[in-house]
């Protein structure tokens, strides 16, 4: 079978691998690279469980053929590992996670908002989080935890 060699930056490190032309980024990450933190939920771009950053923006990795990321920067939930447990503390405190299926995607979008507080000049947290569906929490816990993380960052209580 024909394969394509794709080179890109994954969590800060260069990777180069042969992929099936029909491979989705989600499958390449999970099954070829063993990064199983990124989850498959709906597989059709609705739920956001498979959210990763592509050149710094949150995208659904189920909707991207792997060959499209050649030469680009991909970051997965594993890239946030170095932040340590502390970074997720507002999540725990606010009850932002229950069954956990949506959590990696939710955390990716939440962290992106935290890194780009200027977006809140035009958008609400709720609108920015709308691409991450959660069937457990009813969303209030998620929205509250993002708001708290932003507040704590702004007041200098949290350094990460």
């Amino acid at each position: 079978m024909t394969t394509l060699t794709v080179t890109f930056t994954l969590n800060g490190k260069p990777v180069s691998l042969a992929v099936d032309p029909s491979a989705r980024l989600l499958d390449t990450l999970r099954y070829q690279l063993g990064l199983t933190g990124t989850k498959e939920g709906c597989g059709e771009g609705e739920c956001g469980a498979c959210t990763v950053y592509l050149d710094g923006l949150p995208v659904n990795s189920c909707l991207i053929p792997t060959y499209q990321v050649r030469g680009q920067r991909v970051e997965t939930i594993e890239s946030l590992e170095s932040l340590g447990q502390d970074a997720l503390e507002p999540f725990e405190r606010c009850g932002a996670t229950q069954c956990g299926a949506c959590t990696p995607g939710v955390v990716m979008t939440a962290w992106w908002i935290r890194e780009h507080p200027e977006l809140l000049g035009t958008h609400s947290i709720r609108e920015l989080m709308a691409g991450n569906l959660c069937r457990c929490t009813g969303y209030d816990g998620i929205v509250d935890s993002v708001a708290e993380a932003l507040r704590e960052t702004a007041s200098g209580r949290r350094e990460t």
Binding site: G45, E46, G48, R70, T109, E127, L128, A130, G131
Partner: protein, 273 residues
């Protein structure tokens, strides 16, 4: 096919009439076969055609590139000021994950009757810029569709840009009625503008294509008195042909369209242009 330049991409489209251009992939990947053998046609990946990415402001138009995304427009301050319906509609396409990938040109050629980007472009009199090995062609968006998923694009042509004229608007609104605010496909969409060029009323999800509503536009231009949503029904019946489907019923769509039109434009019904 992974072309590195526009001429290379156009060569492929010219030689393989069944090839499918792929940009953000937000429509094509939804029903993506898992095995390469199940892909019957060649995809032409546009993602590296960098000159098609940026949007540009000229003296008299906003030029969207063939790869300009919803997010590009959402983040453009001038678009927010001058062509706010583009931003309103873009913010209602999925959420950030889709907005970061989905392109305006893709929204046009996907030709969904429920598209969000197309109605606002049409209400701003946008022009589709097509390119092929045989040259460039421009088609006004309100004449681009000829039937359900049928359009004035030959298989060898690529949408390389969308020109949106800069005008002063005295009225503009985009309405999307869906099951919920985010991540929903429209049951009824309406984009309405008024400029020196006249009224534009564009409806989505109520016909085989996004289309202008000339009968409703005429009521506004002539100042025909309209006293209730029901009084709009004859004009609506001339302009659109809604159907029953999984998202809604024809009857509901017609009534919602009449009510939204009536209430949005209640200051204008019966006032001559």
């Amino acid at each position: 096919m992974l072309p590195g330049s526009l001429p290379e991409a156009l060569d492929t489209l010219a030689s393989d009439g069944a090839a499918i251009p792929i940009a953000g992939g937000t429509d094509l990947l939804v029903h993506w076969p898992v095995h390469v053998e199940a892909h019957e046609r060649t995809y032409v990946d546009l993602s590296r055609l960098d000159p098609l990415k940026p949007l540009r402001w000229t003296a008299d138009a906003l030029m969207l590139g063939g790869l300009t995304t919803y997010w590009d427009v959402i983040r453009d301050e001038r678009a927010r000021d001058e062509l706010p319906l583009l931003v309103d509609a873009a913010r209602q396409v999925g959420a950030i994950q889709i907005q970061a990938r989905g392109t305006w040109a893709g929204n046009i050629v996907n030709a969904s009757p429920a598209a969000d980007g197309v109605p606002v472009l049409m209400a701003y009199d946008a022009v589709v810029v097509l390119e092929s090995r045989r040259g460039r062609e421009e088609v006004p968006l309100d004449r681009f569709y000829s039937g359900y998923k049928e359009m004035q694009r030959r298989p060898d042509q690529l949408v390389v840009g969308i020109r949106v004229p800069r005008r002063r608007y005295s009225y503009q609104v985009f309405e999307k009625v869906g099951a919920r605010r985010a991540q929903a496909i429209a049951k009824v969409g309406l984009a309405i503008t008024r400029s020196g060029a006249g009224w534009r009323v564009v409806a989505a999800s109520v016909a085989p294509t996004i289309r202008r509503c000339p009968a409703v536009e005429r009521l506004l231009e002539t100042g025909t008195p309209i006293g209730s949503p029901a009084a709009l029904l004859p004009a609506i019946a001339q302009d659109v042909a809604p159907i029953d489907d999984i998202r809604s019923s024809a009857q509901y769509r017609t009534h919602v369209m009449a009510r939204v039109l009536y209430h949005d434009l209640r200051d204008f019904w019966g006032r001559r242009a």
